[in-house]
């Protein structure tokens, strides 16, 4: 390749990366402009491509009847999903990484299989079952269904995390007199904690973002997504954009927090 061509291909390479980065960032920037503008500016035409730094839209969002309750419902459901999916999922991840036992492949297949189904649809029969159990329209009920959505990921991610920690470390602790549980607490847990936190955050985001099951299973106690969806027809533009922004912000923070684990999670979990 001649020097000119190499230079040209390097420019093309850089330009493609820049273009793709702009493609991801610009829509987010436009949402930010709308969120930080007054309701009048959001509904005006033509739009300015720079925010006014006016908190009117966000104030309108916070004052909208039922919105703050919905926000808290979302946080509670996502928190419950986070705790449940780790408590239930992590032991299975540990078992998959450390033991060979009959039925292991079947179990792994069952977990993988769940990803081949549109899981939110399972909220439909649960709506009826929950009425019978008396947990319809509750944070607890929705948290259980969201845990179902997050659980396959929790199992596979913790499986790949535990596999990354050499069993020799545990064995060394056993020979020094630790019980299996003691060795786990003192040796494995400190090493795995950042990874577990990352997968817990992932479970939180799954629940926080979920729309369909939340809309099917809650009526009075709407989560933020369900509340926004229900009011889409009637709500003014500035309410939609402020709501969209509030939905996006935690996601940005969380993806930043788990970015290191994102790829490790998928690398081994695939196999």
């Amino acid at each position: 390749m001649s020097g000119d061509m190499r230079l040209a291909s390097r420019y093309l390479y850089g330009a493609t990366i820049a273009l793709l980065t702009i493609w991801v960032l610009v829509p987010l920037g436009l949402l930010l402009i709308n969120t930080l503008s007054s309701p009048e500016a959001v509904n005006a035409f033509p739009k300015r491509f720079w925010p006014e730094f006016d908190l009117g839209s966000l104030r309108f969002f916070a004052g909208f009847d039922g919105m703050i309750d919905a926000l808290f419902n979302s946080i509670w459901v996502a928190g419950l999903t986070m705790v449940l999916s780790i408590l239930i999922g992590a032991p299975a991840g540990y078992a998959l990484s450390r033991f060979d036992f009959p039925g292991k492949e079947t179990f792994r297949l069952l977990v993988l299989l769940t990803r081949a189904f549109p899981l939110p649809l399972l909220a439909l029969p649960m709506a009826i079952a929950f009425i019978r159990l008396g947990i319809d329209d509750t944070i607890f009920g929705l948290g259980l269904v969201h845990t179902m959505l997050a659980l396959p990921f929790a199992v596979l991610i913790t499986f790949s995390l535990f596999s990354g920690i050499p069993i020799e470390l545990e064995e060394a602790a056993w020979t020094l007199g630790c019980t299996r549980f003691g060795a786990f607490c003192r040796v494995v847990l400190p090493l795995i904690l950042p990874g577990i936190t990352a997968s817990a955050i992932f479970a939180f985001v799954i629940s926080w973002n979920e729309v369909f099951a939340a809309a099917v299973l809650t009526i009075e106690n709407r989560t933020l997504t369900a509340f926004l969806l229900q009011n889409l027809d009637t709500s003014p533009l500035h309410l939609k954009f402020a709501g969209g922004f509030i939905l996006v912000v935690p996601a940005l923070v969380f993806i930043f927090a788990v970015r290191k684990y994102l790829f490790a999670m998928w690398g081994i979990a695939n196999r």
């Binding site: 926080w208 729309v211 369909f212 889409l232 709501g243 993806i255 490790a264 998928w266």
Partner: protein, 281 residues
């Protein structure tokens, strides 16, 4: 406690949970769909399928998946190959490219609404460039093409990241020696991509495509946020049967149609991209 019982004990919670919240709801949804007044019947299906909106919703869902998934696959492959060659700034670029992974479909729909609504940024730009005087209504029943474009763009914007993550992880697992060997034998970068990267990436491609295609059939909030009732899809029909028509049998029947399509496509993808037995790592 006998040690060989431990693994069983550890997987017990997940197994019970999957049984109660995954397998049981399946049986329940099938029962809702197939049983009318206590007897087996295809009544719900017949009734759902004869509704004028059903063929449109089915067509829209399939067309959208057909338009969106190949673009996402190409884009994710491009991004993944670009980023693996990067030396400086790789982490920052990867972070930015994976941001949409954490964004809900509802938020993505709202974000693209900011661009496509009548007083939105697209119209503002057109007017600023002198390409129009008054803002036209972009998302209406008179412009089905524009509605489709807006939804497709929002989907491509939002959900390419999940494929990107899986493919980047997959490329990371391919030993560098294969590429070195290929270039020693004089393979061009394009040939290396076609003959080395793509075949070795097959397990990741499988996972990425299955996951993405199923999500494409589940498309819901993006469509509702951008198109409202202008662009019915299967999932929004399910929702309408459950809440507007209060017909949970009908909702269950459409749910089973979505499940059926998803499983069928999963099997097709697994078959086309099957990994030869001997080549499994």
């Amino acid at each position: 406690m006998r040690p060989h019982l431990l693994p069983w004990l550890l997987i017990l919670p997940v197994t019970v949970f999957l049984g109660v919240f995954f397998l049981a709801p399946f049986v329940m949804v099938a029962k809702q769909a197939f049983v009318v007044d206590g007897v087996f019947s295809l009544g719900h299906f017949a009734q759902v399928a004869s509704h004028w909106k059903f063929p449109i919703a089915l067509k829209n869902t399939l067309l959208l998946a057909l338009a969106v998934v190949p673009v996402q696959l190409a884009l994710a492959l491009l991004m993944a190959t670009l980023v693996t060659k990067m030396r400086k700034g790789r982490d920052l670029v990867l972070y930015i490219w994976t941001i949409p992974l954490g964004i809900s479909d509802l938020a993505a729909g709202i974000i693209w609404l900011a661009i496509f609504e009548q007083s939105g940024f697209l119209n503002s730009m057109l007017v600023a460039l002198g390409l129009g005087e008054t803002p036209s209504v972009l998302l209406s029943y008179q412009s089905p093409g524009m509605v489709f474009l807006a939804i497709a763009l929002a989907e491509i914007w939002r959900a390419t990241a999940i494929m990107l993550v899986i493919l980047v992880a997959g490329i990371g697992l391919i030993p560098k020696e294969y590429h070195e060997a290929a270039s020693v034998f004089g393979a061009s970068p394009w040939q290396r991509f076609l003959r080395v990267t793509l075949p070795l990436l097959r397990p990741s491609l499988q996972t990425a495509l299955v996951l993405r295609v199923i999500l494409a059939f589940e498309v819901f909030a993006v469509v509702v946020a951008l198109g409202g009732s202008l662009f019915p899809v299967l999932m929004s029909e399910t929702y309408a049967y459950q809440f507007e028509l209060l017909d949970s049998g009908g909702a269950a029947a459409i749910a089973l149609v979505i499940l059926g399509i998803s499983v069928a496509f999963t099997l097709v993808i697994l078959r086309i991209l099957r990994v030869p037995k001997g080549a499994q790592a």
